[in-house]
Symmetry: C2
Subunit: 321 residues, 2 copies
């Protein structure tokens, strides 16, 4: 680990001042082409790597964006992060990731850590375990915040969500058009905005089609595969079991399919299944899960662009191109 070359080393090497070197790098119009070239050459020869820490401190811009998600291993979030990283790194930003594991305390801690790192903005999806949202409010006062998927009504920030209401309507209509009569809903917890909206969409779709909304058909859970399994089993023991389900996520939909396969109930002839989210595996399982596309790739790009816009507006930039 040999000592790092700084702008001062270059300056000494060329017998000019550090400030000239700095200006050469940023292509300042008042620096002669001769010096600019000399600086670039010297930088190459001395193995110079700019130190963004110092630059960030002086300029008041870290070039860092924080991304906070419940967990990276969910393919929905992984895909989002992928596209966020792609768009942001194109604009010269670095992306710090952190996970809340759907836990409130951890979410608070991670947000603080991001703030401490002086991120210029944060893209986040709220932990399902969070009931109070003061931590987000505090963040939003100090730094641009974009929420996606798991958002919060009372927060006045940019939000990127799929149209959950329309998605539910579509899903239920799809099942009805295929002739299913008794459609159940494996739902997420209704204190999380998109899940509540999906429940409403589900109910409204049934009502618009003059179908009965049965409370015992709406089961809230954490939307894991296991939840799908146990709920499906429970549904099948009802006096009047459903003949189709609409799941608020693909994972429980998969769980449900497993149960149906086991019980030799044929999909889609005897039972209809629609998921929500488009996890990567949905096209691979058998039978294929019909799913409401959440366009996760798009969502990430949109979130990133929205944040970039915001930053752009804040910093009236001056650069000598």
């Amino acid at each position: 680990m040999r000592k790092k070359t700084t702008i001062v080393d270059i300056a000494n090497y060329l017998s000019i001042t550090p400030s000239a070197v700095s200006k050469a790098f940023s292509n300042h119009p008042r620096i002669s082409d001769k010096t600019k070239k000399a600086v670039l050459d010297a930088a190459e020869k001395l193995g110079y790597q700019p130190n963004s820490l110092a630059s960030a401190l002086r300029k008041g811009r870290s070039g860092l964006i924080g991304v906070l998600v419940p967990g990276i291993h969910f393919s929905f979030f992984a895909t989002i992060i992928k596209s966020i990283e792609e768009t942001l790194s194109e604009s010269g930003y670095s992306v710090i990731i952190s996970q809340s594991r759907d836990d409130f305390e951890l979410e608070v801690k991670q947000l603080e850590s991001l703030m401490k790192a002086q991120v210029e903005g944060i893209i986040a999806s709220i932990a399902s375990g969070s009931k109070s949202f003061e931590h987000y409010k505090k963040v939003a006062q100090k730094t641009p915040l974009v929420l996606f998927d798991r958002t919060l009504k009372s927060l006045d920030v940019n939000k990127i969500v799929v149209d959950d209401y329309m998605g539910s309507i579509k899903a239920v209509n799809h099942l009805i058009s295929k002739g299913y009569q008794r459609i159940a809903h494996i739902a997420g917890y209704d204190h999380v905005e998109p899940f509540r909206i999906r429940i409403n969409g589900y109910k409204d779709a049934l009502q618009k089609n003059n179908m009965q909304v049965r409370d015992e058909y709406i089961l809230q859970c954490k939307l894991t595969i296991d939840d799908g399994i146990s709920i499906m089993k429970k549904l099948l023991t009802l006096p009047t079991p459903p003949d189709a389900i609409f799941a608020a996520s693909d994972l429980p939909a998969y769980g449900a399919i497993k149960v149906l396969n086991e019980k030799k109930i044929k999909i889609p002839t005897d039972f209809g299944v629609v998921g929500f989210s488009n996890e990567a595996f949905t096209s691979m399982v058998s039978p294929t899960i019909t799913t409401i596309e959440q366009y996760s790739e798009n969502m990430g790009t949109l979130a990133a662009k929205s944040l970039l816009d915001h930053l752009h507006r804040i910093y009236t930039q001056k650069e000598y191109i």
Copy 2:
């Protein structure tokens, strides 16, 4: 966006010097308990957030770790990043992620960007498109580097890999034990270490079982689903087509299965398939892909711990607990 509170503000507020405040925060033994408490209270009241940029610059430690992978959307890498983030954030580090998209140029750029951000260490998996490795060598000279999965023999750094050789042997033995006679290998490019090793394992396993190694049965590719499809098709047109394949990753294995399903070739009765990597979907597709477990979660934790160890050794830390 109101202006941020600094250590100086606290100092002024309490009519002491910034240096006393700083020392109070780091629990310096020579600062009185009274002042420490006063500082903490003032910090709370004024809404102070430490600025790690400044601290990093002064201390020469950024608290940042860079992670570079081909792509976050692969569940193998997503899982690794998840566990890396978990272990590192527990130790107070922040994680910057970047993707090479398996592209050489981008990999170079991303590494530079990480160095510029003054990361204290890098955890990476080499892009399959990289043939020259000078960029990694340069990085390794300046900063601790841990490679995982896609590693490089000529680089003298810590490496976390699954035992590729044994994995291949196991895979092939498994197929042989099931009675398959002509086992083909959908391989990765052999300039990437683990793929070369897997090829060797495949060959050795065949030879140890007195089975013929046929060159036309070993097909190198980028290991995508599409590669699996086209290679499987090609294999089936051979004069003596194989009756089983061992794929160096789960993705082409899935592609192969699709082709076999299409051609109504029954798995596993008529044709055997084994993959490598344990992508999340392998247990969900039908028929289920037998796969060599890569323990990705473990691998991430190991990589992170190995880096932490290394950093620990470098910085003989002095902290007043």
